[in-house]
């Protein structure tokens, strides 16, 4: 799951990036408000962690700007401003969650997962499609009750596909959701991971729409 981290403090940004990566997130880190707005407008992040006291543009202004621009990405505000009026203002400006520093990394991860889930209309951590169950907390996948061992990339790919079950995702869309900046993405990486996933889950699970992209099949008639 690819998220944007906007934090100007070098030490905290470094720690959050490393910690969220440990939890299986792909993290892009920006250090000022203008960059945060630019990235959020341009890239399809699953969620964003936004500090409020950002240089060049305050976090609240970033929030207001992207909401005006129609960006619906879930935003978790992480700030030192703990007063109730600050919280109210943050939420009113379009924040989906408001967390006061310091925060437990696992809690932050859980909140981000919850935000992503809600933004996809999923009430629980478990995603299901025709006997295929994915738990984004434990990062476990079961097929008809049997546990399936997946690599990190395979899991992330399946997660993205299941979040958008039934919809066709282009290779670029998948790459954008899976990889953070600076990661080398071979031209056939997605194809390779899809290949492995098909071997583990059954070929019919993931349909190739030739020249367009991939689709997780979630209706019985297509099977």
């Amino acid at each position: 799951m690819r998220i944007l981290l906007a934090e100007d403090d070098p030490l905290l940004g470094d720690g959050l990036r490393a910690g969220l990566r440990q939890l299986g997130f792909q993290v892009d880190w920006v250090r000022d408000g203008a960059a945060a707005e630019r990235e959020l407008r341009a890239e399809p992040y699953a969620a964003a962690v936004l500090d409020l006291g950002l240089p060049r543009q305050d976090g609240l202004d970033v929030l207001a700007a992207i909401r005006r621009a129609g960006v619906t990405v879930p935003v978790l505000v992480l700030t030192a401003r703990d007063a109730v009026p600050d919280r109210i203002r943050g939420l009113d400006r379009g924040a989906d969650d408001y967390v006061v520093k310091p925060v437990d990394l696992h809690e932050l991860g859980a909140r981000l997962r919850a935000l992503v889930r809600r933004s996809h209309g999923q009430p629980a951590e478990r995603l299901e499609a025709r006997g295929l169950v994915l738990d984004s907390t434990t990062r476990k996948v079961h097929l008809d009750g049997a546990s399936i061992a997946l690599s990190t990339r395979e899991f992330d790919l399946l997660h993205v596909l299941m979040l958008h079950a039934g919809r066709v995702l282009t290779r670029e869309q998948i790459e954008q959701r899976l990889y953070s900046w600076g990661e080398e993405v071979e031209s056939n990486t997605v194809e390779v991971h899809v290949h492995y996933l098909r071997r583990k889950l059954g070929a019919a699970r993931i349909r190739t729409v030739r020249g367009v992209g991939y689709q997780l099949v979630d209706d019985d008639e297509a099977a």
Binding site: D9, L12, A18, Q22, A80, P102
Partner: protein, 478 residues
């Protein structure tokens, strides 16, 4: 309250006692004056009467003596009738050639002469029986007729007492009324004081609003003004404390969050290098939090300081020492620090605080200047002032940023150099305490930030700096 408890002094009682005492004293004095004045007047008047009566008797007797020549001695002892109820208070004797010719019924048969028994014209006091008499003695021209006219002194005293009574009685009778009136007046007069007491007692102890007493008398103004000034000062102190606490809590959240995140990363990290990185970052976060606390405390102490103990400080040596202390940090970034301080420059100041000021400025220059940058410090003395210039080859500051510099926790962002932005606040406070001026601009020679501190030279110390708890501050700051 038990009887043993000491009675608190009361303004009401005090004023009442003083006014009543004064009234009583004036009353007594007027009584005394009346007594002496009336006695004098009475004596003059009655003595005049005595003398006149004596003269009449002498004149009459000289004539009468011839007519009664040869009469029986007893017949000549005329007992004058008591014509008036006051008659027993006066007496007279007429002696003719050593014999008693005429006397009043209450007169003795012995001459009413003074104690010596010899006739002596004029006034004297004699004791007859148990009473004392004022007697006027007179004699005829041939010294054969001697007349004594006497009056009971007691009679005079009773007149005097009556006069005194009529003078003093009304006042004495009015005294309780007067006391009551004074008590009431004093109570009314002290009303505003009681009103102040009530207002203070009714106040919420947490409010520091100024006390407003409508129509407070001019005597209470100083106390009221002082009280309100005190409330104001306490309010400022509390605000400053509250701000400090809020700022400290707020500002510590980010380093704490960083420490927590890095520690959690280290816990969950299997890769040795990544774990070491996270642990080092954790330590760095601790150092930053510690420095932040140090700076916050420094600032808080500076804000609580009203004045400084100014001593002669040799600024050139001080700046040189700071340069030496910070040299390793500059060398670490391969920066050149050059100090140009040709002459000793003595300023009036607090050595420990000035060290903090110079260290903050130089530390800032080192922190914000890139590697291999040049940092120049110049110390000059011109007339009344000593000028310290610190210029660097860093990015400098935009005009808008210069305007905001010194706002608490403002720092020029977009820098990786860690800092809370408190350093400049500290510099400003120290400069203000020394009566120094600070100016910030762009360095013409090095392109970065140029900071100028203008301190009054020793002997031209600012008058605002005065004795305060700054000794303690200076000690702790060192």
């Amino acid at each position: 309250m038990t009887a043993a408890a000491p009675r608190l002094p009361s303004l009401q009682r005090r004023v009442l006692a003083l006014v009543l005492g004064a009234v009583a004293l004036v009353w007594l004095a007027s009584g005394l004056f009346t007594w002496f004045d009336a006695r004098h007047e009475l004596d003059e008047l009655l003595d005049g009467h005595l003398a006149q009566a004596a003269a009449l008797l002498v004149a009459q007797q000289v004539r009468a003596v011839g007519e009664t020549e040869g009469d029986d001695e007893d017949h000549r002892r005329v007992d004058a009738p008591s014509l008036h109820r006051y008659a027993p208070r006066v007496t007279f004797q007429v002696w003719h050639e050593g014999r008693l010719a005429l006397r009043s019924s209450n007169a003795p048969t012995e001459p009413m002469a003074p104690p010596g028994g010899r006739f002596e014209p004029g006034f004297h006091t004699v004791a007859l029986g148990d009473a004392r008499w004022r007697v006027f003695a007179a004699e005829g021209a041939e010294h054969d007729v001697q007349v004594y006219v006497g009056e009971r002194i007691e009679a005079r005293l009773s007149i005097l007492r009556a006069v005194l009574r009529s003078t003093l009685w009304p006042v004495a009778a009015a005294l309780p009324l007067l006391a009551l009136a004074i008590w009431w007046a004093v109570r009314q007069g002290l009303g505003p004081l009681r009103q102040l007491g009530r207002a203070l007692a009714a106040r919420d102890p947490r409010t520091l609003e100024p006390l407003a007493i409508s129509g407070a008398p001019v005597e209470m103004r100083p106390a009221l003004d002082a009280l309100n000034a005190l409330f104001g000062r306490i309010g400022e102190l509390i605000d400053s404390e509250r701000r400090f606490t809020a700022d400290a809590a707020h500002e510590l959240r980010t380093p704490l969050a960083a420490i927590r995140a890095q520690a959690q990363v280290a816990l969950g990290e299997a890769d040795v290098d990544a774990r070491r990185h996270a642990l080092r970052a954790t330590l760095e976060g601790c150092d930053r939090a510690a420095r932040l606390i140090e700076q916050l405390l420094m600032l808080s102490r500076l804000e609580a300081t009203e004045g400084l103990v100014l001593q002669a400080v040799e600024l050139a040596a001080l700046v040189r020492q700071v340069c030496a202390t910070l040299a390793p940090a500059a060398q670490h970034k391969e920066q050149q620090v050059a100090l140009d301080a040709p002459l000793p420059c003595t300023v009036a100041g607090d050595e420990a605080l000035l060290t903090v000021l110079v260290r903050n400025l130089l530390d800032n220059a080192i922190r914000y200047s890139p590697r291999q940058a040049r940092i120049e410090l110049r110390l000059r003395r011109d007339g009344e002032a000593v000028t310290l210039d610190i210029e660097d080859g860093g990015p400098g500051m935009a005009e808008a940023d210069i305007a905001r510099i010194g706002q608490r926790f403002f720092r020029v962002l977009g820098h990786d150099a860690p800092g809370s932005g408190l350093g400049w606040s500290i510099v400003q406070r120290i400069a203000a305490a020394h009566g120094a001026t600070l100016s910030v601009g762009r360095s013409a020679r090095l392109g970065g930030l140029s900071v100028r501190v203008r301190l009054p030279a020793a002997g031209a110390a600012p008058s605002t700096a005065h004795q305060a708890g700054a000794g303690n501050l200076a000690h702790r700051a060192s």
